[in-house]
Amino acid sequence: MEFNDKAPIYVQIMDLIKQRIASGELKVGEQLPSVRDLAGQLVVNPNTVQRAYVELEREGYVDTQRGTGTFVLGDRGAVDRLRERLACSAVEACVATLRSLGYSPDEIAALAAAAAREAQP
């Protein structure tokens, strides 16, 4: 997987997992891949994956049972809130770019609506 080497990789892995939780790819209560497996898939240092898991646990997204594995925490509501948060961040970033290019709020809304309709499912 391609990572941006300018930023800490463990943060990017955390974002990846949060994305998967928000999209429902990883369900609440589901077990995350083992540190070694995920490191192999992403081709990174297992310590980096370990760090990501530890931070995710600290932030309350997952829970690690010694000897068993790491599981997604939370409930339906928490996942929805995460989904909203991620969506808002994405939109804010996009809007900021368009504003800097000189588009007005109405133009931005029209662009977004058009793009959303044409987007592949």
Partner: protein
């Protein structure tokens, strides 16, 4: 985690220059450390001292609390930047040689690695291309269940596919009770594997730290930091 490697005020001096000048750092267990720097900065000298091939002028080096010698050689797997194998040997015989002298050599693991690298035991070292010899040597080094792996430019002479194979083997092999010290010029490709980084310049440590922390602090990749650190040296030479 205990410190697997401790380097304390290490100096290596020759008649005309100091290859290493007062170097100190630690490498914890289960970590992969990148040793970076231009040619002549002292990387190979440092690795040879850790491998017991060179003796310090002053200062000490401890591997598992023991100074380099026969005990450490049995626990350290060293990959030099040149081919150290006898050309008359076959790949299989090199494996037998390692098996004979290193108690931690695992023959099944060796066979497995050979298969991944596309090598056969009957092949004579003298008949192999540069890249294939490199793969054979890496297989020998990783077939040992060592405490410390020292790899001096392990990617030289390898095509991108082979590099990927090695990196996959690195990840698959990763053990939390062993550590790795890797020097490489291919910083961009390998930096995602480093837990810690040490930048050497003219025998001294110019910069060191946790790789992720360095990225966060400087908003830059390790490769970019490399260019920052050594950039001024290059311009001066012009």
């Amino acid at each position: 985690m205990s410190e697997l490697v401790e380097v304390v005020h290490l100096t290596k001096r020759y008649l005309t220059n100091a290859a290493l000048a007062d170097i100190s750092f630690q490498l914890p267990e289960g970590h992969i450390m990148g040793l970076l720097g231009p040619n002549g900065s002292g990387k190979t000298t440092l690795m040879k001292i850790l491998g017991g091939l060179l003796y310090p002028t002053s200062g000490s080096v401890f591997i598992d609390g023991v100074q380099p010698g026969i005990q450490t050689k049995a626990r350290v797997s060293f990959l030099p930047d040149v081919n150290q194998l006898n050309r008359w040997m076959s790949v299989g015989e090199a494996g037998d040689f390692f098996h004979d002298f290193y108690a931690d050599f695992e023959p099944q693991r060796f066979e497995g690695l050979l298969k991944v690298m596309g090598l056969r035991p009957e092949q004579k070292i003298s008949s192999l291309s540069k890249g294939m010899i490199e793969k054979a040597r890496l297989s020998l080094v990783f077939a040992r269940k060592a405490r410390l792996y020292i790899l001096d430019e392990p990617f030289g002479g390898l095509d991108p596919l082979a590099r990927r194979q090695i990196l996959d083997a690195l990840v698959a092999d990763f053990r939390s009770d062993a550590s790795m010290l890797v020097s490489t010029q291919m910083v961009g490709e390998v930096e995602r594997f480093f837990d810690d980084v040490v930048f050497l310049g003219s025998g001294s440590i110019v910069l060191s730290g946790d790789a992720e922390d360095l990225r966060a602090q400087r908003n830059a990749s390790i490769e970019e930091i490399y260019r920052e650190v050594y950039g001024h040296v290059e311009t001066r030479q012009i």
